[in-house]
């Protein structure tokens, strides 16, 4: 294995490999920065062009995209309150308030460095764990997966900075939206109203773009001015960005926790960067001595979010490379690339094609370094976006959002859905219902239903399957601990009424 690593390292000096990394990184950053596009679309678009290329070169391009999109996605999350990818949602909680304070550059510095360190951590873990991958995957069964999703849902509700009851209601709405469409598991249509469009259910891209990007545009267009409230505020330029980059090291515990959560959650197929993002943020908030600072423009919040969403890259590659089990959309396209280039994941890849494994690992690291340089170097320029009057930004973001929505499936009804979601999202914002919780309920609701059904089908209808497996018991205890800890903190914060009265 070490020999293949050295060969890979030596090969990185070739112009073709450098060109491939630059191409992948550029695409990743570009598609990450534009809300709604993301790495999956970038990889999908480049995939057919790689047919006939040297597989190693193709893998460097894909690794470049995988390693950079969520880093790029942090920039619009910070500057426009619009996550570039679903895994950047928590970055908006503190990154955007920092921008409004005129500290957008500092937030970008924090995000870029946290992303780079998170990726580096996860890739080292990936390299170390490859030999143990099979044992890990066999240990994780559908009931374990179900409890993990429940843990994620509870964490998301706690992460909501608004009314808990409204948070739960919004999560419930998300789960109900997830039920729309044809259920392949049961072979029936649900709430499709006879519409062919709804047969596939509600697509996440138009929903998220409508909820986050377009509804935000409605808010800001109606308010006017610029995204940074005081347009005369100096964002600090390069000095402020570098201040943010160095400041990351003041949040070592948050950084390490986010990197670990991102890596572990990433390794679990289906969980993905969004779950890692929310778990990392909510755990950081729960463990903090000053949780009230989260959501107000707290630098630690940005570190928690951005370290986890990039640390998932190493974790998510683990089941893909070892078993050929793609954990998210990026990995599905990577699998498509494997098939196109005659590469077989699993034992064959890990024994016979270690050059491919190292091309991906080294490609992700190189792309992350390059992205960090691009964002740290160009961050001052990017940060100026928040000083441009909304009336100029709004049409630009709207057009990009609509292109992004349409690009995924070339379906004009997706654009209509995004507009509808924007109106619903705007109304929910006005009424104080957290949109994030609704979207996560939507994403995790589908998975929870699938894993719950699978578990019962495996057990022949017996519910004991949820309480007898070791991993399930550990996750259940984690859920109970999280609930108990929150109740304890709530009780500590708000003493019993009797005590207050006395």
């Amino acid at each position: 294995m070490f020999e293949a690593f050295l060969d890979g390292l030596a090969g990185m000096g070739s112009p073709a490999v450098i060109g491939a990394i630059v191409l992948g990184t550029t695409l990743g950053v570009l598609f990450g920065v534009i809300p709604g596009l993301g790495s999956v679309i970038a990889m999908t678009l480049i995939l057919p062009f790689t047919f006939g290329w040297d597989p190693i070169i193709a893998m460097y391009v894909f690794a470049g995209i995988i390693g950079t999109a969520s880093t790029g996605g942090g920039v619009p999350a910070i500057l426009l309150n619009t996550p570039g990818t679903i895994a950047n949602v928590c970055t908006t909680f503190d990154g955007f308030p920092m921008t409004r304070r005129g500290e957008g550059g500092r937030a970008i510095g924090l995000a870029a460095t946290a992303s780079a360190l998170g990726t580096l951590f996860s890739i080292i873990v990936l390299a170390a764990l490859l030999p143990l991958a099979e044992v890990m995957l066999r240990a994780f069964t559908p009931p374990d997966f179900f409890w993990l999703i429940i843990l994620g849902l509870i964490a998301v509700t706690f992460a909501s900075r608004q009314n808990m009851a409204k948070g739960l209601a919004a999560g419930g709405v998300g789960i109900l939206i997830a039920l729309i469409g044809f259920s392949p598991v049961f072979g029936v249509r649900r709430y499709t109203l006879g519409s062919e469009y709804l047969w596939d259910g509600i697509e996440i891209v138009p929903l998220v773009i409508g909820f986050f990007a377009l509804s935000e545009l409605i808010v800001y267009t109606s308010r006017g001015g610029s995204i940074a409230r005081d347009a005369s505020v100096n964002l600090g330029g390069f000095k402020q960005i570098m201040r943010g980059a160095v400041e990351v090291f003041q949040y070592k515990a948050i950084l390490l926790r986010g990197s670990v959560i991102g890596t572990v959650i990433g390794a679990i197929p289906g969980a993905g960067g969004a779950v890692a993002n929310f778990l990392s943020y909510s755990t950081a908030k729960q463990a903090s001595k000053t949780p009230e600072l989260f959501g107000t423009g707290y630098p630690g919040g940005v570190v928690a979010s951005e370290s986890s969403n990039d640390a998932k890259d190493g974790g998510i590659l683990l089941p893909t490379l070892t078993f050929g089990i793609p954990g998210n959309g990026e990995m599905v396209i990577l699998m498509g690339a494997f098939v196109l280039h005659g590469i077989q994941p699993g034992r064959d890849l890990l024994v016979n094609r270690l050059d491919i494994v190292w091309a991906i690992i080294l490609g992700v690291i190189a792309a992350q370094v390059l992205t960090t340089i691009i964002i740290l170097g160009g961050g001052a320029w990017l940060a100026r976006i928040s000083l441009v009057p909304v009336k100029y930004i709004a049409p630009f973001v709207a057009i990009l959002s609509f292109i992004g929505v349409y690009a995924v499936r070339s379906n004009i009804w997706d654009v209509a859905l995004a507009v509808f979601a924007a109106i619903v999202g705007f109304s929910m914002r006005r009424a104080g219902f957290p949109l994030i919780t609704a979207v996560i309920g939507f994403v995790l609701g589908q998975l929870a239903e699938e894993k719950f059904t699978q578990s019962l089908q495996i057990s022949g209808g017996g519910y004991s399957i949820f309480f007898t497996r070791p991993v399930s018991i550990v996750l259940l205890l984690a859920i109970l601990f999280m609930l108990g800890w929150s109740m304890y903190k709530a009780a500590k914060k708000n003493p019993a009424p009797q005590a207050a009265e006395s």
Partner: protein, 333 residues
């Protein structure tokens, strides 16, 4: 001499114009027999996401067809409804040959019969078969059963399947009825997740196309193929018996294979269809195209338009025959 020379040049000009007129007239006369097709780009619909097997095969074939037809054959992904959107699009397209679509058969026939959307696959103008993948039944090597008899003695055999509406569910329903095996589906397993399910013991059996990463997996030590749904031994897995050998010829042939069939709109004129079919067949004879398709885990077994239409009719018959079995099992869940 000078005058003669001038007349000579005029004469040559007249002759040239005459020849041009003759060529034009000849071309026009030929045009009465040859259809003026194609004069613009042809669209190739793929009802699935970019990057998948059918998408990859479509792009490889379309690229070669472009050379032959002299226009671009542009692949357009129209995802939705497990291929339904693309099927509806081609079923409603103008019958001019400028739109063709690859279909996942008989998967789409099964889905259509279980949840009708009024697409009659027998009405489409079939161009040919792009790819074929042979189905097989496989399990984890650690399991000690090997034959249908072993499975008949078990209380409830669990199958890892994607859902209760796909082609795999139909094949599982038919197989268990014909082989008299008590079974239950465990749903929600897509792609390689199935193999992880088998290794963990979520289920005992899985079935699907033995191609791509599945083929590599069953060629390794962790999995074994119990039988192939074919009448002849499957080259890449030569040790696996066929259903014919096991005494179940009704499951053999290529009835349950996964086919990528290409269709044009209903009512496409025969001469236009012939041009498309010739370009399509020519592409499939190109060694680079075949190599590209093989590397994507699929095989090329060419069919003429008439043979393709017959295959579709046969698939329709099988799906109709077993539809009630599938419905009953689905409702029992």
């Amino acid at each position: 001499m000078e005058r003669i020379g001038k007349i000579g040049r005029l004469g040559r000009l007249v002759l040239l114009l005459g020849a041009l007129a003759a060529v034009t007239a000849f071309g026009a006369a030929c045009g009465d027999d040859e259809p003026d097709f194609p004069t613009r780009d042809v669209e190739w619909f793929v009802g699935f996401a970019a990057g998948g097997g059918f998408d990859t095969a479509s792009r490889i074939i379309a690229d070669k067809m472009s050379d032959d037809l002299g226009v671009n054959v542009v692949v357009r992904n129209i995802e939705g409804g497990g291929g339904r959107r693309a099927a509806q699009e081609i079923a409603g397209a103008d019958p001019d040959g400028y739109a063709i679509s690859i279909m996942n058969m008989p998967n789409q026939i099964t889905a259509e019969r279980l949840d009708p959307e009024d697409v009659d696959f027998n009405e489409l103008s079939w161009v040919g078969r792009a790819v074929i993948q042979t189905y097989g039944m496989y399990t984890a090597s650690a399991n000690d059963f090997n034959t249908p008899e072993d499975l008949q003695g078990m209380p409830d055999v669990r199958f890892c399947l994607s859902g209760l509406a796909g082609h795999s569910f139909l094949v599982a329903s038919v197989t268990t009825e014909v082989m008299n095996i008590a079974w239950n589906p465990v749903t929600g397993y897509r792609g390689q997740e199935t193999q992880a399910g088998l290794l963990r013991g979520d289920c005992e059996l899985a079935l699907g196309p033995i191609a791509g990463t599945t083929l590599t997996a069953v060629q390794g030590p962790d999995f074994k193929v119990l039988w192939m749904y074919s009448s002849e031994r499957f080259g890449p897995v030569p040790d696996a018996p066929t259903v014919d050998e096991l005494g179940f010829p009704e499951l053999g042939g290529s009835k349950f294979a996964n086919n990528g069939l290409v269709a044009a709109a209903p009512g496409t004129p025969d001469d236009v269809l012939e041009i498309l079919a010739n370009a399509f067949d020519s592409a499939l004879q190109d060694p680079d195209v075949v190599a590209g398709i093989n590397s994507a885990g699929m095989d090329v077994v060419r069919l003429t338009p008439d043979e393709t239409a017959e295959v579709v009719e046969g698939m329709d018959g099988i799906v109709s025959e077993y539809l009630e079995t599938v419905r009953q099992k689905s409702q029992a869940q």
